[in-house]
C-alpha cells in the first residue's frame, strides 16, 4: 500500500499551477488537504505522474466579503470554519457542518475546495453548500467561471472541471436574519462518511428555500420547488410530501426502499431542525 513513484511540485501562484496542470504528456493531480487523495494514492487507486500541491498559493486562502455573499478560498480548512476563523454569513450553518466532518485530525488539513473538487457524494460540503445555494469559482488559463455546486459534480468523483482547471474558491450567499437551517446526517459511527444526508435552508426574506437529499451514491438531489415539496403548505416536517421526495429519488435511480426510507427520515429531520430554530 505505497503510492507509485510520482513527481511533486508546490507552486506559489496560480499561473504556475495552471502551467503544470495543463501538461498533457503526463497524468497530473492537484492536491489540497490530501485527506482523501492521500489514501487513494496509497491504495494506487490513482497513479499520477505529477502531484501539484496547491496549498502554498496565497490566493487560495483568501477570503473576500461581498455585499451579497462571501468567497472562501479553496484552501480554507474545515477547522478554519469550525473555529470561527472565517466570517460567518450563514448564521453558524457552516460552522455546524464543519464541526461534524470526520475527525478533528481530518478537519485540520482537509479543505473546503478540495472536498468540492474531489466530488465524493457522501462528503458534507457538497450537500450543505448545495442547500445554501453556493457556487464554486473555477479558474483556468482561459479565465474564470462560477458554477452551482450541484452542477459542478456529475457523479462519484466526477466533475465538470476541465484539465488544468482549479476550484479556487466557494461563493456562499449571505443569509438574512430570518433564515432557517437544518442539517442531519445518518452515519454508522462518529466521523464516518454519511449514508444519508438531509439539508434544508429557508430564507423567507430572500424568498429562497432549498432542500437537499445527499449521500445518494451520485450528485446531491436539490429540491427548489417548495410547492411540490410541501404541497403548497408552510415548510414544516409534517407537511413534507413523501410521495414527491420518493418520486425524485426514484427518478435518480434510488429505487431501494430502505435507502429511500432513511433519506426521507433525515430530510424530515433537517426540515424539523430548521422549523424549530
Amino acid at each position: 500500500m505505497k503510492p507509485v513513484r510520482f513527481a511533486y511540485e508546490r507552486p506559489t501562484d496560480l499561473a504556475a499551477a495552471f502551467a503544470l496542470g495543463r501538461r498533457e504528456d503526463i497524468a497530473v493531480k492537484f492536491l489540497a488537504g490530501g485527506q482523501s487523495l492521500g489514501p487513494m494514492l496509497n491504495l494506487r487507486l490513482i497513479q499520477p505522474e505529477l502531484v501539484v500541491d496547491i496549498t502554498a498559493i496565497a490566493e487560495l486562502k483568501h477570503i473576500e466579503e461581498k455585499p451579497e455573499s462571501i468567497v472562501l478560498g479553496s484552501c480554507i480548512t474545515h477547522a478554519d470554519i469550525e473555529d470561527g476563523r472565517v466570517p460567518d454569513v450563514t448564521s453558524a450553518a457552516l460552522r455546524r457542518v464543519a464541526c461534524g466532518i470526520a475527525y478533528r485530525a481530518v478537519r485540520n488539513r482537509g479543505t473546503i475546495g478540495g472536498s468540492v473538487a474531489h466530488a465524493d457524494p457522501a462528503a458534507d460540503w457538497l450537500s450543505a453548500l448545495a442547500a445554501l445555494g453556493a457556487s464554486a469559482i473555477v479558474k483556468g488559463e482561459s479565465g474564470q467561471r462560477g458554477i452551482a455546486i450541484e452542477d459542478l459534480i456529475v457523479g462519484v468523483f466526477e466533475t465538470t472541471l476541465k484539465p488544468g482547471e482549479i476550484v479556487t474558491g466557494v461563493e456562499i450567499p449571505r443569509q438574512s436574519r430570518a433564515a432557517r437551517w437544518g442539517y442531519y446526517k445518518a452515519s454508522r459511527k462518529t466521523g464516518e462518511f454519511a449514508h444519508a444526508i438531509g439539508a434544508f435552508m429557508h430564507d423567507p426574506e430572500r424568498s429562497v428555500c432549498r432542500a437537499v437529499i445527499g449521500a445518494t451514491g451520485s450528485k446531491p438531489i436539490v429540491l427548489t420547488d417548495m410547492q411540490e415539496l410541501f404541497v403548497g403548505r408552510v415548510p414544516k416536517p409534517e407537511a413534507m410530501s413523501v410521495q414527491f421526495v420518493r418520486q425524485m429519488m426514484g427518478a435518480r435511480g434510488m429505487g431501494d426502499d430502505i435507502e429511500q426510507k432513511i433519506h426521507l427520515a433525515v430530510l424530515r429531520r433537517a426540515i424539523a431542525q430548521a422549523h424549530a430554530s
Partner: protein, 778 residues
Amino acid sequence: MKEQGVGARLLRKEDDRFMRGRGQYVADLRFAGMKDVAFVRSPVAHARIRSVQPPETHRHAVFTAADLSGVKAIRAVTTIKGFKPSEQPPLATDKVRYVGELLAMCVAPTRAEAEDIAAAVVLDLDELPAVHDMLAARDQQSVLLHEQWGDNIFLESLVEIDIEKALDAPIKVTREVRTSRQCMAPIEGRAVVAMWDTRLEQLTVYSACQMPHIVRTGLAECLGLDEGQVRVVSPDVGGGFGYKGILLAEEVCLGWLAMQCGHPVRWIEDRREHLTANANCREHYYRITGYADRDGTLRGIDCEATVDSGAYSAYPFSACLEAAQVASILPGPYDFPAYRCRTFSVATDKCPILPYRGVARTGVCFALELVLDAIAREAGIEPYAVREKILVKRAQMPFTNITRKYFDSGDYPESLRRAVAAIDLEAVRARQRRGEPDGRLIGVGLATYCEQAAHGTSVYHGWGIPMVPGFEQATARLTPDGGLELRVGVHSHGQGLETSLAQVAHEVLGVDVEKIKVVHGDTALTPYSTGTWGSRCAVMAGGAVSVACKELAKRAAKVGAQLLQTDADKVSVRGGEVIGPRGSITLKEIAATWYLKPQNLPPDVDMGGMEATIGYRPKPDTGTFSYATHAAVVAVDAEIGGVEILDYVVVEDGGKLINPMIVDGQILGGLAQGIGTALYEEMPFDSAGQPLASTFADYLLPGPTEVPSVKIDHMETLAPHTEFGVKGLGEGGAIPPPATIANAINDALRPLGAELTISPITPRRILEAIEHAGRSGT
C-alpha cells in the same frame, strides 16, 4: 514500600515506554542491507494456476512456488476421527483457494518498488466457481476446494445427550442465528524480518507474534531446519487477539528467502492485506431450538452449527477449533438435561478463519442467549427469570455440566442478580412505559457466560493438534545487585504482563517491582511455552513465576540462614529479606554472596544457585471458569436504524485479581471489540468470493464515542486449584456484548414485532427486520 503484590492497583511498568512512543515494534527495526518484500496475491477466489510470469526486467527479484524447493506445506492436523487435513503451500502451487492467497514474492530496496514489481507480474489463472457460502458448500453438488476429500467438510461432529426427553416440551423456539465474518484488528498488523546469521548458522526471525516458540517449531518443520537453527524474536507487539498466534505462510516465505539471499528481508503487512487476506474470524451459522416448560424452564437445546473455516487449516489451532468447541461449550453456564449439537467445519474459498478473542464462545453465547430471550417472550416472563432457573448454583460447585465441563467455583446467579440491580431493570421498564420524547425505543438486554481458561494438557491432548500445553515454565533469577529477572515463554502484547508477573514475584519474594525485569518474546532467552492464548497467562505464567520464585526463596533462605548463623528451617523470606530469629539479611546481600563472594556460601548450597526454572500446571488442569453477566440499555432509532448504548453493566468473577486496573482494561478492551461484533464489524464477500471491505472506511470499528462508560463490579471467588486463586479472564469482555446488545435491541423492537438474529446489527438490518415484521403482521 507501597503495596505492590497480588491485588495491588499498580500503574503498568511498560507504559512508560509505550506512552512516550519508545516501544520497539518489528517495523521499527533497521538492519544493514535489509530489503522489502511485497507479495503477489491471488485476485480471484478459486482458480487453477496456469502460470505466474515475472517481468523480464526483474526476473531475479521475483520468487514463485517453483523456486521454493524443499519447503513443506503448512499442515495443521488434528487426530479427531474424520478430520480431513489441508495442505497450504506457502506460495500457491496448483490452485488458489481464496482472494489474497500468495502467488509470488517480490524483493526490492523499498516496499513501493517491490509493489511496482508485483504489479508487473503476469498471472494466467483458469478461474473456477467460488465456494462462498458455507451452507451451499455442504451440499453434495458443490464445487470442491480440496478435490481429494470428496466434499468440503473438514470435520463433522455430534454430541447427543437425552435429546428425545425434551422434544415434547410445550415451548419450542427455533431460530437461525448468524455471526458475520469479521476481522481482528490489532493496531499493528503482522510483520516479519528474517535474516540468516552465518556465525550462529541460525535463521533469526523477528515476528509480531504472540506464540514465538510455536512459530519456531512450525518454521523449523516447514523449512526443514533443526529447531536450534531457528530463533524467533517477538519484540513489542501492538495487540494480538489470536491473530498473532498463527504461523503465517508469509513467515515461512520470508524465512526461506533470508536463507537464499544473504541479506535481511522484511514484510510489513498493510491494512488491505490484513483485512482481505489474513485476519478473518467468527463466521458461524446456527439453527438452534430451545425446548422449555410453560414457566420458561429450559429442558433442552438442539442445535446444528456450521462454521465457515475458509480454505485451509491454520497452524497450530486447526480448522476445527471453532466448530468442535461449539459443541462442547454451547450449554454455557446453564444446567439443563437434554442436549444435541451437530457441527460442521466447512471449507470455502475465503481466507482461513483464525481464533479471535473469545474464539467460539462469542458465537455460542450469541446463539444461546438469543434463544433464551425468545423463550422468555414465549413464556411471558423477564429474560433474567429464564436464566435464574437454570444457572448453575453456588451450592452445586464444583459442577460437571452436560458436556463434562468442570466448573471450578463461583456464584453465577449472584452475577445475574447484581447485574439486574445495577442496570435498574424496574426503572428501565417504567421508562419504556412512559415512552421517549424523541420517539426512540428503549430496550434492556443481558447475557451470562462462563469462560474456560488456561485449559491444559488433559483438554488439548485429545484434539491432537500440533500444540499441546504442558507444564508452563518460568525462570526466576536474582542478579548480583539484588534485582530479579523473570523469563517467561508467554508474550505480552497489551496485557500488561510485565507488570502483573512482577507483582506475583513481589508477592513471593518482596523484591521491589521497579527492580523486577520480565524478559519475554525471544526463543533464545526464554523457556519453551505454547505462548499467549486461551486467557492462560495470569494462571499459567503467573503460577510458574510464583513457583519459580518460591524455589528461589528456598535457595536464598539456605544461604541467608548460613550468613545469619542459624538453621535454614528457622528463617523465612519476606519483603526482600531472609528473616531469622535474630536479625535479617537482604536478598541483595545473598545474591552478592552467590555471585561475588562465593567463599562465604554454605558447603551444601543448592548448585542451581540464584536461578530457578520450574514448571507449573494446576491440578486438575481442566481450566479455570471465570464468568460474568453483562447488561445493557439501548435506544433504537427505528426510523433510520440507529442504536445508542445508554448504559452498560459488567458483573464478573475472575477469581483473585492480580492487578484490578489491568483486569478492568482487559474487560473494557474486550467490550469494545464485542460492541464491534454487535453493531459494526463485518467482512462481506460477494458471490465470486471477493472480500468487499478492504480499508477501515468499509470495515467499521467502534471508536471512543461508540463505547459507553461502563460500570464494572468484581466478585473475586477464589479459584480452588491455582496460585492465589487466579482465574483467566482475558477474553471474557469480548464474549457476551453481541448477545447483550442484540437482546436489548430485540427488547426495544418488541412493540414492532421485530427480532434480529444476526451480527452485526446494522441500520439496514434493523429496518429490514421492522419491515419484515410489518409484512408478516405480527
